[in-house]
């Protein structure tokens, strides 16, 4: 990877100025077209010569896809809004600190300045066999290179593996699921909304993509209702380095407490399966219970039931158990972003207990 091989092969760059125009171009060029948002995912594919689209449809000139608007029901975030903008936006920080926190932990400052929320939720799997162009299941082949006795699968799935064992790498995804966001999708002929949960799909539905966008469709906006505004949020991301890295795992929760008891809760974990997992059974089990260590313990054990580790990722089971526990107890403050201020003991304990 990461070898400079001169400039990318030629493609035509189309820069529509409106969603209607973009949708028309996608209809016109169909499988020859590649949609680029911030380009942080797209350009890797193109530079590595693994995807070779004839036409690149660049969405960066479409102003109607940018910005954050307040509506009577909540916030509407344009799909081309950058992660920096979301992380710093006063309305997001005020009501949906969970999302602000999640996107502020993505990659590096420069990447957040360019990467978009639409791209973050629609990005492809980061399994290195797949990204390096190996002909695996996800790439249309008939083998998974990660799920072999010698496959390097430390970052891969512990749930829902179906031929492919890659995980969804998005940090914003679990936060958006917890906040019950709705994803607005448009094509030249249609207009529909799907829940955040249904936007993400696993290999059983379609092994070649991680989102439910059909050809010719564009994700135009993400609507977050006020349903969970002002509740108790928890977000934690665990990764090898304190910046840049994709999550080994992340967890998001929103919880409303009455007298110390959990009135209502939503809980999601990502980087454990091909799609971010909402833990519906855990939510149901902890409702009405006190938000204490015993409940967290129980929730953690319940969350990892049915997990099947691969050769090198068994650590993800205790990691998930502990993250779910923390998401409920909220006792441990999120790890300091800054490597200098980091207490290595916190992570050690989470991995081994």
């Amino acid at each position: 990877m990461a070898v400079i091989r001169d400039v990318m092969p030629a493609f035509d760059l189309l820069q529509p100025g409106s969603v209607a125009e973009a949708a028309k171009l996608l209809d016109q060029y169909r499988e020859d077209a590649w949609v680029m948002a911030g380009g942080m995912d797209s350009l890797d594919w193109l530079k590595d010569r693994i995807k070779k689209p004839k036409v690149l449809v660049d969405l960066s000139g479409i102003d109607e896809l940018k910005g954050i608007r307040q509506t009577s029901k909540g916030l509407e975030i344009g799909s081309m809004t950058t992660l920096t903008e979301i992380a710093e936006h006063p309305l997001v920080r005020k009501d949906f600190g969970l999302l602000a926190e999640a996107v502020s932990l993505v990659a590096s400052p420069q990447i957040r300045n360019q990467a978009t929320i639409g791209g973050n939720v629609s990005q492809d799997a980061r399994c290195w066999y797949y990204r390096a162009g190996w002909p695996c299941y996800r790439a249309g082949g008939n083998i998974c290179y990660a799920d072999t006795p010698v496959g390097r699968n430390r970052e891969h799935a512990i749930f829902g593996a179906e031929r492919c064992v890659a995980v969804n790498p998005s940090d914003s995804a679990p936060a958006l699921i917890v906040l019950d966001a709705e994803f607005i999708i448009r094509s030249s002929t249609d207009h529909r909304g799907v829940t955040a949960e249904d936007y993400f799909i696993g290999p059983k539905t379609d092994i070649t993509r991680m989102h439910s966008l059909r050809p010719g469709e564009l994700l135009t906006a993400i609507r977050i209702p006020y349903t969970w505004a002002g509740t108790k949020f928890y977000f934690e991301k665990v990764r090898d380095r304190n910046v840049w890295d994709f999550p080994l795992m992340n967890v998001a929760s929103a919880m409303e407490l009455t007298g110390g008891n959990i009135q209502r809760i939503r809980l999601a974990v990502n980087a454990v399966a091909a799609r971010p997992m909402r833990l519906g059974n855990v939510e149901a089990a902890v409702r009405g219970k006190p938000a204490n260590a015993a409940t967290g313990e129980m929730a953690g054990k319940m969350a990892v039931q049915g997990a099947i580790p691969l050769q090198f990722n068994a650590y993800k089971i205790p990691l998930m158990r502990n993250l779910v526990k923390r998401a409920i107890v909220g006792a441990s403050p999120r790890q300091a972003e800054n490597a200098l201020a980091r207490d290595p003991g916190v992570q050690e304990a989470a991995w081994t207990s």
């Binding site: 990877m1 990461a2 400079i4 091989r5 001169d6 400039v7 990318m8 092969p9 030629a10 493609f11 035509d12 760059l13 189309l14 820069q15 380009g39 942080m40 350009l43 890797d44 193109l46 530079k47 010569r49 070779k52 004839k54 036409v55 690149l56 660049d58 960066s60 000139g61 920096t84 990659a107 590096s108 400052p109 420069q110 990447i111 300045n113 360019q114 304190n242 910046v243 840049w244 972003e337 800054n338 490597a339 200098l340 201020a341």
Partner: protein, 212 residues
């Protein structure tokens, strides 16, 4: 910075052509021819040039306060345009994958990885590279001055990226703690692992910027 130095060198001795000036002349002279031949030079460029494409290849780019006309391929990254078309080689290409930060430039005051920006997507933007930081009279930017004073870098390949990140970060947060500065520069890597001295220099840079 280096352009200025070269200017002086050649003014002083008109007969002598410095190596750098010679190379830059070749780059400028060869730009148009070069642009046409990259397509054939690039290994594995099996996609034929699309015909009837919309949009001009010859564009105006606002770089370091000057509007410059340049012939840009559709698939060309900003780092490529800056280095090989405009001769602004202060912007370095490290990984070419948005990982190392040595290609960091400011686009409308926002630091971004120029290796991962298609030049055509920022036609309307104001681009500032390391060459555009010093004042027209050659006075260094406070952050540059601090790097010189603190001798912040070893090999300094990553330096221009770090400086651009620091300059942008200080506009948002002029009085950072060392931790905040480290976080602000977390999108840049140094293979010499000289982070402690780099942070010393950048904190000095923050001080100089506040005073300036």
């Amino acid at each position: 910075m280096s352009e200025m130095a070269d200017q002086n060198a050649t003014d002083g001795a008109p007969a002598k052509v410095t190596r750098r000036r010679f190379i830059m002349g070749v780059i400028a002279g060869g730009a148009v021819v070069g642009a046409a031949s990259y397509r054939f030079l690039a290994p594995g460029s099996h996609v034929p040039a699309p015909s009837g494409s919309g949009g001009e290849r010859l564009i105006s780019l606002n770089v370091n306060g000057k509007v410059r006309r340049v012939d840009v391929m559709k698939q060309e990254t900003l780092a490529w345009t800056l280095r090989y078309k405009l001769g602004l080689t202060g912007t370095k290409l490290g990984c070419d994958r948005a990982e190392c930060g040595s290609c960091t430039v400011l686009i409308d005051d926002v630091p971004r990885y120029s290796c991962s920006v298609l030049t055509h997507t920022v036609r309307a933007g104001k681009i500032v590279t390391i060459e555009g930081l010093a004042a027209p009279d050659g006075t260094l930017h406070p952050v540059q001055k601090a790097v010189v004073d603190e001798q912040g870098f070893q090999c300094a390949f990553c330096m221009s990226g770090f400086i651009m990140s620091a300059v942008a970060f200080l506009k948002k947060n002029p009085n950072p703690t060392r931790e905040e500065m480290a976080h602000g520069l977390s999108g840049n890597l140094c293979r010499c692992q000289d982070y402690s001295k780099i942070l010393d220099a950048m904190m000095r840079g923050a001080e100089y910027t506040r005073r300036a």
